[in-house]
Assembly symmetry: C2
Homo-oligomer: 459 residues x 2
C-alpha cells in the first residue's frame, strides 16, 4: 500500500506531550482562577447554523469563516452559503446561548468558556486558524453595575500572577470618554471617529509626525490644533491612581458622553484597588481603543512589561447589548478574553516558558519479571496516594528503562530487586537532581510527597 | 431589525451551567485517573486533511464525515472532496500524530486524549453528531507486551470506581481465540467470520432460536451441530478467575491462533488481579467481539450491572498495527475509549446523575453599598484560601440576592452588615441545610473549609 504523508494543515498548533503539559497547566490555572471568582462553565458546539452565526457580520469575519458540510449536503448545497459553520469566536455563541436559554439562567450571568475557535486566516507565522480562547463575561438583564467593570481587572491580576510569566500591566480606558472627547473637537460622526482612531493606532509604529500629517491631510482635513489635541489625548498615561484622577480632571469639561465616561473611568479605577489589585499593576492609558466598534464603555488591554512586542495578552471591555440580533431583552455585559494558543506560542518563542515536566511522577522499573506482582502492588499504593505512576511492563535492560524515563521527563525512578523486597526498602533515583536514596517502603509515599510538593512550589 | 431565532443544530448536547459542572466533573475524574496511570496528554486539531483522514475508509465512516471549506475554497472546490474534514474519532488522529512525530516520542508511548469528534449521523434521540471521546492508548514500537492489555482494565476500574455511577463489570475476550475457534469449525474466511459474528450479536435481542435459524439457513448454510457449537461458545461467561481458566480449558484443543488467543486471555485475566482489580469486577465473556475488524487480540467492554440497557460504557482492545497507512514502522497498541457525551446523556436520562452543585461556594451579599470595600476584602480572603466566591455588586433587596443564590445553586450566603463588622463576625446562611450560623471573622475560612470538605466527600 502506498503511504500517505502524515501531516497537519498550516495554522494549527499541535504539541508534543511535554509541551501539551505546559499548555494544559496554563489552561488549568486560568480555569481555576475563573472559578474562584464565581464564573460558571459553558461549552457550546463547535458548529452553529450559518444564519445564526453570521447575523451581524458581512465584513472581515465572514470572509474568514469555515463552513461545514456533511457528505450528504456536499452535493446538494452547491450554491449559496452552507447551513453550518465553525464558530470564529466565543462571543457570538455566548449571545446565542444566553438568548436561547434566557429563562433558565440567573442574572447577572457569569460564565467562563475555554474552547477552540476557527478562522480561515492566510497561512502566516504566528497566525492561527485554530486557537483557544479563554473568555469570561458578566451579563446583566436590563442593567449591569459599572462595578463589574472593576472586577474583571481583579480576575486578570489573579490569573497572570499565578501564570507567573513576568510583570504585567492592565491598561484601561473608556470609549465614552474617547467619543465624548472627539465630539468636543467637532468630530461627531461615529464612523469618522473610528477612522481617526485607526490612524492614531499607528502612533507607536509610525510616530507622531506621520499621524499628525495624516490627520491634517486631505482625508481628514483636521486643523493642526485639533490634530495636536488628539495626539496629546491619546498619549495620556497615569503613573498612579491619583495621577489618573488628576489627568482626567485636566482634560477639562466636555459634552455629556465625555463626562459620563470620565465618571465611569474614575469609579472603575478607584474600585480596582478595593478588589485587591495593587496600584503597580494597572494604569489609565487613553490610547486604548480596541479595534472593534463593539465596546461602548470600559476597555482593557494587558501587556507584559518586559515584552511589549507581544502586544495585549488579555483584552476586553463593556458592551451595551449582547444579543440584540436574537432577543428583545436588553443584555449589557462586560468581558475579557485570553487568546491562549497565540500567547503560549509567543511565550515559547520568546523563551519565556520551558517545556513542561512530565505529569508522570514515578517510573517503577522492571528488574526482575518474576517480581511483577510486587511492582504492580507498589504502583497501586502510589496511585492511591495521588502519585502518577507508570510501571515498565515490557522489560528490557535497566539502562534502557532509565533512558526512557529521562527522555520522557519522568523525575523519579524506582528500583526494586529481590534484595530490596526482602529488606523492605526501595531505591529511588531522582533524575532531576541526579541523586539517589534508599527509603523504607513504609516511608516511601511520605518522602515522595515532600519532594513533589517542593517541585510544585517551584513550577 | 428582524430577530434571528437563537438555536443549535440537532445532535449536539449543550448544557446549562449546573449540568456542565456535572459533566466537567466527570471529565476531570477521567483525566485525573488517566494521568495517575502515567498517560500523557495529547490534543490534535479538529480539522485534518481529507486524504490523511480517509485513507482507510470508504464505507460507513466516509458517508458520515463533515467536510470543511473556508469562504475562499467554497467557490473554488465545487467538485470532488474538499481538502479538509473534521475528525470522526481520535484513533486516526492518533495514528497520524504518532507517525508524524515518531522520532520525538518515547515508546511505549502512553497518551490520553479527551476531545470532541464529529459524525454526520441522522438526527435521532441519543445519537450525537458532536461528542466527547476520552481515549487512552499504549503504542509500542515493533512489539508490545500483552501485560499492557491487563493494565487497561485497571484504569477502567479506577475511573469508574471514582465516577461512582454504580456497580460495573469489565468483560474480556480475545479475537484470536474467537477466530481460531471459527477456524476449528471450518469457517476460515475472515469476512465470513465477521458476518457470523454480526448474527451472533443479535442473540440478546432476537434469542437463540432466531440466530440458530439464520446460521443454518441459506445465507450461511452451517450444520445444526456447528451452529450449536457457536451458540455454546458465545454464551460462555466466567463466574470467577478459576472458572474462566476451567472454561477456557474445556473448549478443547484448536488451531494455532486459538491456542495463542487462549494463552493470551489466560495471561491477561491472571494479571488483572495483580493490577488491583477485584475479581468481582471483571469476567470473561466469549460473546464480546466489538464491531470493528480493527482489533486483533484482547477486546474489552464495560457494562453497568444494574443498567445493561445502556450497553458498553467503555470499550477497546488490542490492535496489530496503528499507522500502517502513514509509516512502515510497526506500531502495535492497545486502547480504550469512553464516549462521555453519550454516557452522560444516558446516565442523566436514567436519573443516575443529578444536576451539579455550583462551583461557586460562597455568595457575599450586599447589605450596604457603603461597605463594599469590606465585602471585596472578605471575598479576596476567601479566594486566596481557594474558596470560589462571588460578590453581589449590583445591590438590590437582600431577599432577591438570596433567591439568586438559591437558583444558582450556591450553598453559602454571607451577610455582613455594619453591626457584624463592628463585632468582627460574619453571618453564614447554609442554603442546602437551611441553617445559619454566626462565626468570628477569624474562624470563617476554617469553618467553611470543614463544611466544603464534607460536601466533597458526599459528592
Amino acid at each position: 500500500m502506498a503511504l500517505t504523508q502524515a501531516r497537519t494543515m498550516p495554522g494549527v498548533l499541535e504539541l508534543l506531550p511535554l509541551d501539551q503539559i505546559a499548555f494544559q497547566r496554563m489552561l488549568d490555572v486560568i480555569r481555576r482562577n475563573y472559578e474562584r471568582f464565581g464564573f460558571l462553565p459553558v461549552e457550546t458546539p463547535v458548529m452553529e447554523y450559518s444564519d445564526v452565526l453570521l447575523t451581524k457580520t458581512g465584513g472581515e469575519t465572514e470572509r474568514q469563516v469555515y463552513f461545514v458540510q456533511s457528505t450528504g449536503t456536499l452535493n446538494a448545497e452547491k450554491e449559496g452559503v452552507p447551513e453550518l459553520a465553525l464558530r470564529f469566536d466565543l462571543t457570538v455563541p455566548l449571545a446565542r446561548y444566553v438568548a436561547e436559554h434566557e429563562h433558565d439562567l440567573s442574572f447577572p450571568f457569569r460564565r467562563y468558556q475555554m474552547q477552540r475557535v476557527y478562522r480561515g486566516e492566510r497561512a502566516q507565522r504566528g497566525r492561527f486558524r485554530e486557537f483557544y480562547q479563554c473568555d469570561i463575561d458578566v451579563i446583566g438583564k436590563d442593567s449591569l453595575s459599572v462595578r463589574y467593570d472593576a472586577e474583571l481587572p481583579a480576575v486578570i491580576y489573579s490569573v497572570f500572577r499565578e501564570l507567573n510569566i513576568g510583570a504585567f500591566t492592565i491598561q484601561l480606558n473608556n470609549r465614552k470618554l474617547m467619543r465624548g472627547f472627539f465630539e468636543s473637537l467637532g468630530i461627531i460622526d461615529g464612523e469618522q471617529q473610528t477612522l481617526v482612531l485607526r490612524e492614531v493606532d499607528k502612533l507607536d509604529k509610525r510616530g507622531a509626525d506621520y499621524v499628525r500629517d495624516t490627520l491634517t491631510g486631505e482625508q481628514f482635513g483636521l486643523s493642526a490644533e485639533v490634530a495636536q489635541k488628539i495626539l496629546d489625548f491619546v498619549q495620556v498615561r497615569s503613573t498612579s491612581l491619583q495621577d489618573a484622577f488628576d489627568k482626567l480632571d485636566a482634560l477639562g469639561p466636555g459634552p455629556e458622553s465625555m463626562e459620563q465616561g470620565r465618571a465611569e473611568l474614575k469609579e472603575v479605577l478607584g474600585l480596582i484597588r478595593d478588589f485587591g489589585v495593587p496600584e503597580s499593576h494597572f494604569v489609565m492609558n487613553l490610547s486604548i481603543a480596541r479595534g472593534l466598534d463593539y465596546y461602548t464603555g470600559t476597555v482593557y488591554e494587558t501587556t507584559l512589561n518586559d515584552h511589549p512586542q507581544i502586544g495585549s495578552i488579555c483584552s476586553g471591555g463593556r458592551y451595551e447589548n449582547l444579543a440584540s440580533q436574537y432577543t428583545k431583552s436588553k443584555l449589557p455585559g462586560v468581558g475579557i478574553s485570553i487568546g491562549l494558543t497565540r500567547l503560549y506560542w509567543q511565550l515559547r518563542d520568546a523563551g519565556l516558558i520551558a517545556t513542561g515536566q512530565s505529569t508522570v511522577d514515578v517510573l517503577v522499573t522492571q528488574m526482575d519479571a518474576a517480581q511483577m506482582p510486587a511492582y504492580l502492588a507498589l504502583a497501586n499504593e502510589l496511585r492511591s496516594a495521588g502519585i502518577a505512576t507508570e510501571v515498565v511492563l515490557e522489560g528490557g535492560k535497566l539502562g534502557k528503562q532509565f533512558k526512557y524515563a529521562d527522555r520522557a521527563g519522568i523525575r523519579f525512578v524506582i528500583v526494586l530487586g529481590e534484595d530490596e523486597i526482602v529488606k523492605g526498602v526501595v531505591t529511588v533515583k531522582d533524575l532531576r537532581r541526579e541523586d539517589q536514596f534508599e527509603v523504607s517502603r513504609v516511608d516511601l509515599i511520605k518522602s515522595l510527597r515532600v519532594e513533589l510538593a517542593q517541585a510544585e512550589v517551584g513550577r
